[in-house]
Symmetry: D2
Subunit: 441 residues, 4 copies
């Protein structure tokens, strides 16, 4: 089951595989097999039955299409799955068939299967996130001293370094990934409660079977079943949304830097079907597609949290595709951004050119800082305004200010001489960069 064509830009092959029918059915089968074994070990069902069940489950051969079709009638994919498994077991051993899915409820299987897929998805995303942070770190180090325009409301501001910008990207991506990691850890736990969430069908053996099942599936055992308490999954989906929002911010920045008129950085990108000259920020587009997709998916999940009593009507039923879509889009963003950053070409010279093209105007804040204490804010303001108005490619703002007679008496000429020098007005840029990168200073 390859990635659906319409989903090409919001998933990856690897993640589509994680949530494919094969993977989901495999996870469901693992649950039933492990359950039977755990129950046999606890003396709840006959060991022979467990062997047949786990054998059949492991063997696979489920008809995904038939199960999917039937799921709409029963409101869950588990019921037709269990029926199929029971038939398979009965074909080999009628008695064993009695003990298929013993003491479990549908949601135990489908929730745990989703959790098992999620565990797998984390491994996939981890790789791309690591590539991303390595690439960002390299960029930040390489450009620790590269001045570029800050841009606020898309207008030029005093300089920053590209190293600081990349460090800001990196630190926010790391914070986001740390939240995801925590949410994965807290959210990927066993679901096992039986019909009412009390494991009543297992009598006194409930806790022991649950513990063994969790151990066998390598999942933590939560305090209690969580059939209608979906906050852990909500936290995971939300963490995906926050992380992807951060990746989207980085991609937006790159796509803006990549404008022909700015051209301070270029991602490898893609070509155009009609315009031979073009190089598109295709990687950024994929990241931003995910950033557009996630907020709605998060809200769908949150709205579905209001689930009735011990198992809801509808809220739960909407979850699986939402979770799968959210995780896939998140991983798609991480992969695309890792590629884009990994292949980013940075043009330090153009960054400098773009600073110069403001004719020094971006140093007007600095001029105010230098002038105001000496000449007062209002006079400083007048000098700056007239210098801004006169600044041109021939005589830039810094020169004009320095030549002003009022200024000359009021400001140290050595300082004044550096007014238009980006390197002289970076403030704590490197201090912040090092803190963001957790470097010792």
């Amino acid at each position: 089951m390859p990635l659906r064509l319409l989903d090409s830009l919001v998933s990856t092959e690897a993640l589509a595989a994680v949530f494919s029918d094969e993977s989901v059915l495999g996870a469901m089968a693992r649950f039933e097999a492990a359950l039977a074994r755990a129950e046999a070990d606890a003396g709840v069902i006959p060991p022979a039955a467990a062997e047949v069940i786990s054998g059949a489950a492991s063997r696979g051969g489920f008809d995904a299409a038939a199960i999917s079709r039937s799921a709409r009638q029963s409101g869950t994919i588990t019921i037709p799955f269990v029926e199929t498994l029971t038939r398979m077991v009965r074909d080999r051993n009628a008695e064993a068939a009695t003990f298929v899915h013993w003491g479990a409820t549908s949601q135990d299987v489908s929730d745990t299967a989703l959790v098992l897929c999620l565990v797998e998805s984390q491994r996939v995303i981890e790789v791309d996130h690591r590539r991303l942070v390595v690439a960002l770190r390299a960029l930040s180090d390489a450009h620790a001293d590269t001045p570029m325009l800050a841009r606020t409301l898309l207008q030029p501001g005093p300089p920053i370094t590209f190293g600081l910008k990349a460090a800001g990207w990196l630190a926010s991506a790391e914070r986001g990934y740390a939240r995801m990691t925590a949410a994965y850890r807290d959210g990927c736990v066993l679901q096992f409660g039986g019909a009412a969430g009390t494991l009543a069908a297992l009598g006194v053996h409930g806790p022991a079977v649950a513990a063994a099942l969790a151990a066998s599936l390598q999942l933590p055992l939560p305090d209690a079943p969580w059939h209608s308490h979906r906050d852990r999954l909500a936290a995971l989906v939300a963490a995906c949304g926050i992380y992807t929002g951060t990746l989207g911010k980085i991609a937006r920045d790159i796509s803006l830097l990549m404008q022909q008129e700015v051209l301070e950085a270029q991602e490898p990108g893609g070509s155009s079907s009609s315009m031979p000259h073009k190089r598109n920020p295709s990687g950024c587009a994929v990241v931003l597609a995910a950033a557009h997709r996630l907020p709605g998916l998060v809200s769908s999940f949150l709205a579905g949290m209001v689930q009735e009593h011990e198992r809801g009507v509808g809220g739960w039923h909407a979850e699986a595709p939402t979770v799968a879509d959210a995780v896939q889009a998140t991983g798609s963003a991480a992969a695309a951004l890792a590629d884009a950053i990994g292949g980013l070409r940075v043009d330090s010279q153009r960054m400098r050119t773009n600073i110069d093209a403001t004719h020094g105007a971006v140093f007007s804040e600095r001029a105010m800082v230098l002038l105001a204490p000496g000449v007062g804010r209002e006079r400083a303001s007048r000098i700056i305004s007239s210098s801004l108005a006169d600044a041109s490619s021939e005589r830039n703002f810094a020169q004009l200010v320095a030549e002003n007679v009022e200024v000359q008496g009021a400001v140290d000429p050595h300082v004044l001489a550096t007014l238009g020098d980006p390197a002289a007005y970076l403030g704590s840029a490197d201090h912040f960069r090092r803190r963001l990168l957790k470097l010792n200073e």
Copy 2:
């Protein structure tokens, strides 16, 4: 490509087919074939080339998996699709290959292909909507005079008829479907503008080719290309959201009526994997799953409308799966609700029993209306309160009020005798029912 297992409850086989790789590739191929023919007719490309191109496109044989994989690099499925088609054409006729996709841009193809799939989706949904309204109409007619409790904030109120309730469901579903129909009609239009949206590559032939292309694909021709103006699709997705919200409301109502403690209606539903006695509102769960899914999808689409200049970065790229998911969930809801309503078993007797179980308390409003003009609101209030407190299965509220001496002088005894009769307090229920059903009175 069957319905993905995880999507079983939020799509149908028929709609999954509409948005399948086969369907999408077929629509893209139709576009390219029709374009070549339209351009040949206008004298823009050689007729022979058009023949080869449309032949190759019609023949199909595209490798969806390869195209999907490559799409992530180029940021659209069209580029690898056109490359594949070009290769196919070149294999037959090198010169013809020159004219593949002539004058078009990627988005022309993918947008129009999406539109063609949408046109198809409407046909599928139409059938289920029709089933739904026929079933609702039958219910409303059959129960025009069946009293049941109104329930406000889930608490019992004065009676309505089930006929009115069903008519309210029907009229809102019809309003919703009318909005969808209008949005389908306005939104399903040709996309064709070339690289910059000016059809410049076609010289003076742009409008003629566009008109012919639209005619050939049986799509309306809009005023102009709409590459970054997505309001028409937004209106369609929003209309799906509103319609599905209404279906969700109906499903919520049914699932509540189906509670064991209420049991006034039952949908065919499904069974449970662990509880042999259960009959679940599975159809309602499927409808409600869609109603949980849509709001987030609508918000994703709307948030993505802010698309840069002549083609956006990311907003557009997120759209196709959002639209496809929204339409599929909508159709899934319509199908499931048509089944649920079509098979609904209504228990009029239980409706009456549930009214009686309030011991007449739901007629307290009516008692106020009858008493207040005669005895004043405050005295009426006291009488009603004490009667409510004393009401029981032995002596109900209506009797208690009627026996009150103060009341006897103030209210017509014939009217008073009907105080606890549901049929005597239906007000304009049938008037409203008939208006909702557009019946002449």
Copy 3:
């Protein structure tokens, strides 16, 4: 009650007034007054009582803070409002107090009051929308022939005209506003159904009283009460979302054109607290703030449509602030964009400079169209690639192509001479512009 400081960028004073406590209480009072009069006219309550009630209601003097506080207990602002009104009436005439709110339910009052505020809000937004379209139309006409770069994925493409761009903005804004107008018209209808939605308390007089009430409040009378059928309001909120999404797209475009490195247009904007040289796209920021706000509000509304039975628990209760916020943000966007467009300074010369800065690369598509028929696509591709690589400010792409020997034999030299002329490659730009503006051609 002025605009709350934190809401400054997502509402306007005029719209904040429409949804202020004064306005809401006034609308509620109008409902109760009109109801009493309509009921007196129908002979349902004593005329004298109606006179006292409508007098008290008109006089006002409600304590908004007390009502607001009490609303949390009763789950609606209507109950404390009606209690207050009843006290006021009783102070003048104890008997009349009996007939306050006669036959109505809380939701009748609060829904109709909301509707009355909405009617008012439309008048406010209309003015700004009209300003906006007049300004856009003027821009489009003034720049019908001004070439500028198309930008797709933020990369330069073949030229369009600014007139076409403005026409595209205008037509989409008009489509959006037309949807809002229709939704206002369909959604702003009377709510009046009494406790169960049957007007049972009015006996046979329900329809007559409802009709008179609607007439008095100048609201259309719907088929039936719509207490738990919220699709009409949903359609209005969604229409706000779509319209605002379109305005957001325009604002995004302007903010991008306003970048120092692009500088093709400038809105009046605002200054910076720390950077004297800056001119910020503040108007665009306000528009985009609304465009960010709406999608979530739309999804909240849609998710709340699933309302139980005859009056829901929670879904309805969340609506009023959502609707008020959505409409205010929409109007805020319209006002800000009307200002921004009305004061837009367009720099046609810079538009031309930015085209020239691509060294002709944006005509590579045109070169392909001219060359491919003569020399074949592959050879054309090679010539174009090498010319793109060699293009510079000294010798641009068009010259390089024209100088190529292979090309000279294959393409009409007169046509070739215009290869780099923007005016020669505008295709159907003006045709589309005229269609978008509904001009006869």
Copy 4:
């Protein structure tokens, strides 16, 4: 500034006060005062100036309406605020006016002011959350052994205890609150970076001033300014959404238990304007209103995270009302649910009656568990089905099964005798309850 009437159900007076104009202006003033003092201490500005500035800021007297009006022009409330403050300072000391807002940027002030309000909001919510968990704990302890129906898909299932149900509510509310607490802690940090986020205007003194400012405002100092990195606030808003979703689930459950037909629990609730007999789940409605409101607000925030470069256009501008609304709705839910749970009347007898009303059908799972090992799943299934069909108020399912001859040989009669006893089929209910409450066992 009281709570706006339309917001009555989605905020509280206490939280409305936290985000009122007075509070916001006060926080902004605290920032400017603390900044001036910190800069004076670092030798950046004259101590005398700092004194005048902090004096003026502390004195207050800002005209909120004027600032709000002007904010739309400048795109932020800070610019008119700083202008006002500067005027106030200048009136006392012209030189000091030079140093108002020295080295800071608008966003430093408005972000930090928002953070200060958030810190305050946490104190308010904390109180209500504590009330809530105390009440839930008491409920769980009091009903540790009270059996009630589990309800899955709103259909009756095997029994649980109300103690377990309440423990599940409690544990999920505690998890949600713990996430909020962590998000408050991580998100409520100082914003201070100056125009470009480098504190360049402070020269070498940036870090020292930042540290002193943070200390003075009792806010943690982050690694670096976070002007366009909004993940920390996103995490807070998302945590509000998850917590409120959980509260919504509890409220939904209570509103369902409160149905006349179920009536196992009743919150204090409210009355009806038209129906004297009614007791509405008004508290639940308020909680659910918040649960409907949050998901959209979360998605708005997440969608706005894609902020351009060093300060975004629009994304940031939409945030403040979204954050304020989200926190207010969250606190409103906590307050309303604390009241509802604190006043909850639980009817254990009715819980038992409702179990009995299923005629033992909810023990069909248990019957299967008991019978299947002895007689095989298929024969067990037949026996159970026919017993379910025959069960009535006279002879319930458990009796019918026990009387079946096939069964008698296969199942221990002592066990069989308890088939219909809820207390005998609670499984691990108390084990789970104790784990959820973190009780030692």
